[in-house]
Assembly symmetry: C2
Homo-oligomer: 175 residues x 2
């Protein structure tokens, strides 16, 4: 493991398809259907007024859909890199147990030793970061890959490589 | 914060007086009373056969007594150092939410940004580590302080400074 490059892999918006659930909840609570075009460039909390309440509800993170392709590609990456899944989760105590159980269910090849829940990703030593939020990417000292989600889709002048899908991450890191 | 030295502060056996609860549970389950003398030098799991079951029970970490002096001294340290509370907790999913709520209750001056739950403390960058377990202390690159608990009391030939109490930590770091 000592010679492997360490990759920090974010959960929400990277492994966990939170937007999928946000759209569903918004529709069920308001009766109005939002599309990607409606919310491109908006922060998550601007796009979905219910968000702060949803993410603080026990059970919310237990059943989020898995991001397409993430299980297959992360399993491949796990053979060549020192993978650490890192989530900013300590703001929401109820989310912690839900997130760990979700990872155990959906990414059983990621052991408990490879998981971090924290309030500041910049204290973790690593070589590569895969994340959707500039607050994490901009302060990271290694290589950065910005996973594209509606809130960051319009950000063009960043130093971060972009990946629209896990297939693109596979091309960037495994080809 | 950039100029402050970062201290990693362990929870179990340092902030949380887990032995206090271990003695209580052992007595209530077996009817026999253990004393410190009975278990000095034994690993926690050797001293308390019920331990593996106890720590995996939801609620166990929610009501652990606070280590004597830890609230007062950690509050003082929090003004002079970049404090990060770090617990190896991802092995036990149910413990995560309990531990976060326990910290919020008992150490309200520690914000969610200063908390890490992980499976490997050696990926976190810091200057000083306060911990009771050699598995964490021996691999840490900075200054180490071994908080004395029954399982490590007899370990004499370690490179780590020893602290028998939070008053001693206060002397080591604040005088």
């Amino acid at each position: 493991m000592g010679m492997m490059k360490r990759i920090l892999v974010d959960m929400d918006g990277v492994l966990a398809d939170v937007y999928h659930r946000f759209f569903e909840l918004h529709e069920s609570e308001t009766g109005s259907v939002l599309t990607f075009d409606d919310i491109i460039g908006l922060k998550e909390g601007e796009a979905f007024p219910g968000l702060a309440r949803w993410v603080d509800t026990p059970g919310f993170f237990r059943t989020i859909p898995v991001m397409a392709g993430s299980q297959r590609v992360l399993k491949l990456l796990n053979e060549k890199f020192d993978i650490v899944v890192v989530s900013m989760a300590t703001e929401f105590p109820a989310s912690l147990t839900d997130k760990q159980l979700w990872l155990n269910d959906n990414f059983p090849f990621i052991t408990w030793r490879q998981i971090v829940f924290c309030g500041n990703k910049n204290i973790i030593q690593a070589d590569i970061m895969i994340d959707d939020h500039l607050k994490n990417l901009d302060n990271f000292k290694g290589e950065t890959i910005m996973f594209i989600q509606p809130h960051n889709m319009n950000l063009k002048n960043t130093p971060h490589r972009r990946a629209d899908s896990w297939e693109e991450i596979e091309k960037l890191l495994l080809s």
